[in-house]
Amino acid sequence: MAGPLEQFEVNPIVPIEIGGFDVSFTNASLFMVINVALLTSFFLFASRGRSLVPTRLQSVAEIMYEAVANMIRDNVGSGGRKYFPFIFTLFMFLLTCNLVGMIPGSFTVTSHVFVTFGLAFVIFIGVTIIGIFTHGLHFLRLFFPHGAPLWTAVILTPVEIISYLARPITLAVRLFANMTVGHVLLKVVAGFVAPLGIALGILPLGGLVAITALEFMIAVIQAYVFTILTCVYLHEALHLH
């Protein structure tokens, strides 16, 4: 019986080393490539007809498109249109990674904190650069709420700076922790089924079904939360509150 943490192990398939770093093609890399291939082929296939009245698959692709477009319109506002390709890629990548991870025996790319942190860090740097390019030094207004008494700056500014710097960590940990805990829980509960036998094993099996449904929901919700927080940060960088 495999341990609950075994599913997160990264094993090299093709060993590669560049400049002293181990960048081997691993099972994690394989699933990243699979997810990208799945997504690209789905969207290419779904949008190939360009019919005026959409086919079923085309409708699915268009619903995704409209959902992300609405997310940007509602949360980023004016000037958000040009970030649509990035936000769309981000949401679809996370959603696919989370959902493909639900297939038994597959690998959940987003359950690795380095992966989620890599994304969150790029977003953090990108948003900060966009903010400075848009507002120059005015961007620092972000660290002091408009209209608060001046003396509160002593308390508020450090708090604001810390919470700003914590963003990539909270963003990364939220997704990674949700995915990891869910998959560990599934494995642990599943581990009870066989030892308890047919009679008693029904109970953890029922629980397993319920948790699986919950995990599917969490997979979608966490992809959405990650994306929408990115939109919120982008909004702040573009419009300063």
Binding site: L5, F8, E9, V10, I18, F21, D22, V23, S24, F25, T26, A28, S29, M32, V33, N35, V36, L39, T40, F43, L44, S47, R50, S51, L52, P54, Q58, A61, E62, Y65, E66, F84, P85, F86, F88, T89, M92, F93, V109, S111, H112, V113, F114, V115, G118, L119, F176, T180
Partner: protein
């Protein structure tokens, strides 16, 4: 936990960068422009159809107004025609009545003239009969044949005295 094994960092981030960038370019170059075209084409097609529907609706409204105007005009014409016909008939009736009245008057006058002539004739006959009767009566009674002029004078005198002219 394998998640916190620092030797994995480089590999995961490296492959994440490659796959995510690849996905970004695949989606933003191939898929998204295509989908945007499709969605815009659909939106503009729907807008066009709505526009055309509105134009057609307005045309139908114009036709309806024209029809109602034509109907109103026809009604007015019919009413005018009826009024004209009625007044024409009244005029003809009055003319005919007048002609009839004139004819009746003429006949009455003619009849009156005939009556007057008949009365005059009758009066003349009465005088002649009276003269003849007087002649015959005086001859039978007295056996004397009186001269016709005398009898005539007597009869005419008597008729004048009794004012027979009025009676006759």
């Amino acid at each position: 936990m394998p998640q916190f094994d620092p030797t994995l960092f480089a590999g995961l981030v490296f492959w994440l960068a490659i796959t995510f960038t690849a996905l970004f370019f695949l989606l933003s170059r191939l898929v998204l422009p295509r989908m945007q075209d499709t969605l815009e084409a659909r939106a503009s097609r729907i807008a066009d159809d709505l526009d055309r529907a509105e134009t057609l609706r307005q045309e139908a409204e114009t036709v309806r107004q024209q029809y109602e105007e034509a109907l109103q005009e026809a009604r007015d014409q019919a009413r005018a025609g009826i009024t004209h016909a009625v007044s024409e008939m009244e005029r003809q009736g009055a003319e005919r009545e007048a002609a009839l009245n004139a004819e009746i008057d003429a006949r009455i006058t003619a009849a009156e003239q005939r009556i007057a002539r008949a009365r005059d004739e009758a009066r003349t006959h009465i005088r002649d009969i009276a003269i003849e009767a007087c002649e015959a009566a005086s001859e039978r009674i007295s056996g004397v044949k009186v001269k016709k002029a005398v009898v005539t004078a007597a009869v005419e005198g008597e008729m004048k005295r009794r004012n027979l002219q009025e009676v006759a």
